[in-house]
């Protein structure tokens, strides 16, 4: 098994040192109490915070790559989505029509005003926006926290499809045990900045 994402001796403020490997198409779910460092871990992997240790994508080192290129391929979806343009379409250059449909939208959504979208709509659209770059690794920070059951299923289906079709590796922070059972290839528990196998 060749690793898609390799994390060696990663250490950032309050987190690590920790090692982790994600295979292509694998989905690792991380649970753990607030303040355990889950968000900080994802930020460090996206190279948004200073860190020690080594990050490799398909064997290519993060340090050898321009930071924004790394983030296009190792994409972080934050818990709260941010929008700067007035309309949804201003944040998209291109989108996958099939995935848009799977997320429960039609093409008319591009004309919608951001201010009139619900938190849940914005969260699902933020995922689609992130997928424009065609990432190889997705770092998802509670991506379904503000969604109802039907939309949780939609997001899970989209991620499932990306894993199967494109071999996208997923690191998914979730507190929902039932969800973890549905989607996880492996489950980890985070506490005080360290990862361990969930029992």
């Amino acid at each position: 098994m060749t690793a898609r994402l390799t994390i060696k001796q990663l250490r950032t403020l309050h987190v690590g040192p920790l090692d982790l490997q994600l295979a292509a198409g694998e989905c690792v779910v991380i649970a753990g109490p607030s303040g355990a460092g889950k968000t900080l871990l994802l930020r460090a992997i996206a190279d948004l915070d200073a860190h020690d240790g080594e990050l490799l994508l398909d064997g290519e080192s993060c340090a050898a790559m321009k930071a924004h290129q790394w983030r296009q391929r190792v994409a972080l979806l934050p818990a709260e989505s941010q929008w700067w343009g007035e309309r949804i379409g201003l944040h998209f250059e291109d989108y996958d029509a099939k995935l848009l449909e799977m997320l429960g939208f039609g093409p008319e959504v591009m004309g919608w005003e951001v201010a009139h979208c619900s938190t849940g709509e914005r969260q699902r659209l933020a995922l689609l926006r992130l997928l424009q770059n065609g990432p190889s690794v997705l770092l998802l920070d509670e991506p379904t926290a503000s969604l109802d059951a039907a939309n949780v299923a939609r997001v899970e289906a989209v991620i499932e499809r990306l894993r199967g079709e494109r071999g996208v590796a997923v690191l998914w922070v979730s507190h929902d045990t039932a969800q973890a059972e549905r989607i996880a290839s492996r489950r980890l528990q985070m506490a005080a900045g360290r990862l361990q196998e969930a029992g």
Partner: protein
């Protein structure tokens, strides 16, 4: 021919207007009376001091003394740029980014004006060099402090948006581009407005001074137009430089937003 000389009595009379204003402010509790008096006093002392310095400088017009005064003016302007920013860069950068940009743009423009356009003899003749540099520094200082203040203030307020754009794989330059554009615009607004209003709504100070001193109006106007262009260029390039430097400093080599570099 010269202007009509003012007596101490004339100034004293004008100062009673300020005193009256301060008195009313005190009685009505506007809370600005004290500051009004202090700044009126500062105006008097600072201008008297520069008057004495200029008189000495005009009598000893050597390049060394002109350069010394110019440096002093630059350093004070740099301090002022720093003081006017709510969230300035920590450490050396807080002073350096603004002062360096101000130095490059206003000294370059002043040198150009002296050596190529006005051509006094010698080129550093303080009667020309110092007022010219003063006007440039004063305006460049405004543009740069407005631009930098907007840059750092907006970056602070919109940090989540900037980081969201970074997470989407945008480069640091792309992530800050809207804020950078807005900051440059804000820095340039005063000089753009001043040029648009010149002669119609306001008579610029230098031109008024020359006319009071007996210069023919059209000669004064030519000087004023020259100065306006020089100020626009100095302010514009200075603001561009300062905002560019500042926008780079907001990110590190891994394109991370580094607000910890602000105070």
């Amino acid at each position: 021919m010269g202007a009509i000389a003012l007596s101490a009595w004339d100034l004293a009379l004008a100062s009673t207007l300020v005193l009256l204003l301060a008195f009313i402010s005190w009685r009505m509790r506007f809370g600005i009376g004290r500051q009004l008096l202090i700044s009126a006093l500062r105006t008097t002392l600072q201008l008297l001091l520069i008057g004495v310095i200029l008189k000495v400088l005009f009598d000893n017009a050597t390049l060394l003394w002109v350069a010394l005064l110019a440096t002093l003016m630059l350093l004070i302007a740099g301090r002022e740029v720093m003081a006017r920013q709510e969230r300035r860069f920590a450490g050396w950068w807080g002073y350096g980014a603004g002062t360096l940009s101000m130095f490059v743009s206003s000294f370059a423009v002043t040198l150009l004006a002296l050596a190529v356009l006005i051509q006094p003899d010698p080129w550093y003749l303080p009667q020309y060099a110092i007022p010219l540099l003063g006007m440039l520094l004063g305006n460049t200082m405004n543009g740069i402090s407005l631009g930098l203040d907007r840059l750092t203030g907006s970056a602070w307020q919109q940090r989540q948006i900037i980081e969201a754009r970074l997470m989407l794989g945008q480069s640091a330059a792309q992530a800050i581009t809207d804020i950078r554009r807005e900051s440059i615009r804000v820095g340039l607004v005063p000089i753009v407005n001043a040029m648009a209003a010149a002669g119609v709504i306001s008579l610029p100070g230098m031109m008024t001074g020359q006319i009071l001193a007996g210069a023919p109006p059209l000669e004064a106007v030519k000087y004023q137009i020259l100065i306006m262009f020089l100020i626009a260029a100095g302010t514009g390039f200075g603001t561009l430089g300062a905002v560019w430097l500042g926008a780079r400093r907001l990110f590190d080599e891994r394109e991370r937003l580094r607000l910890d570099r602000l105070k």
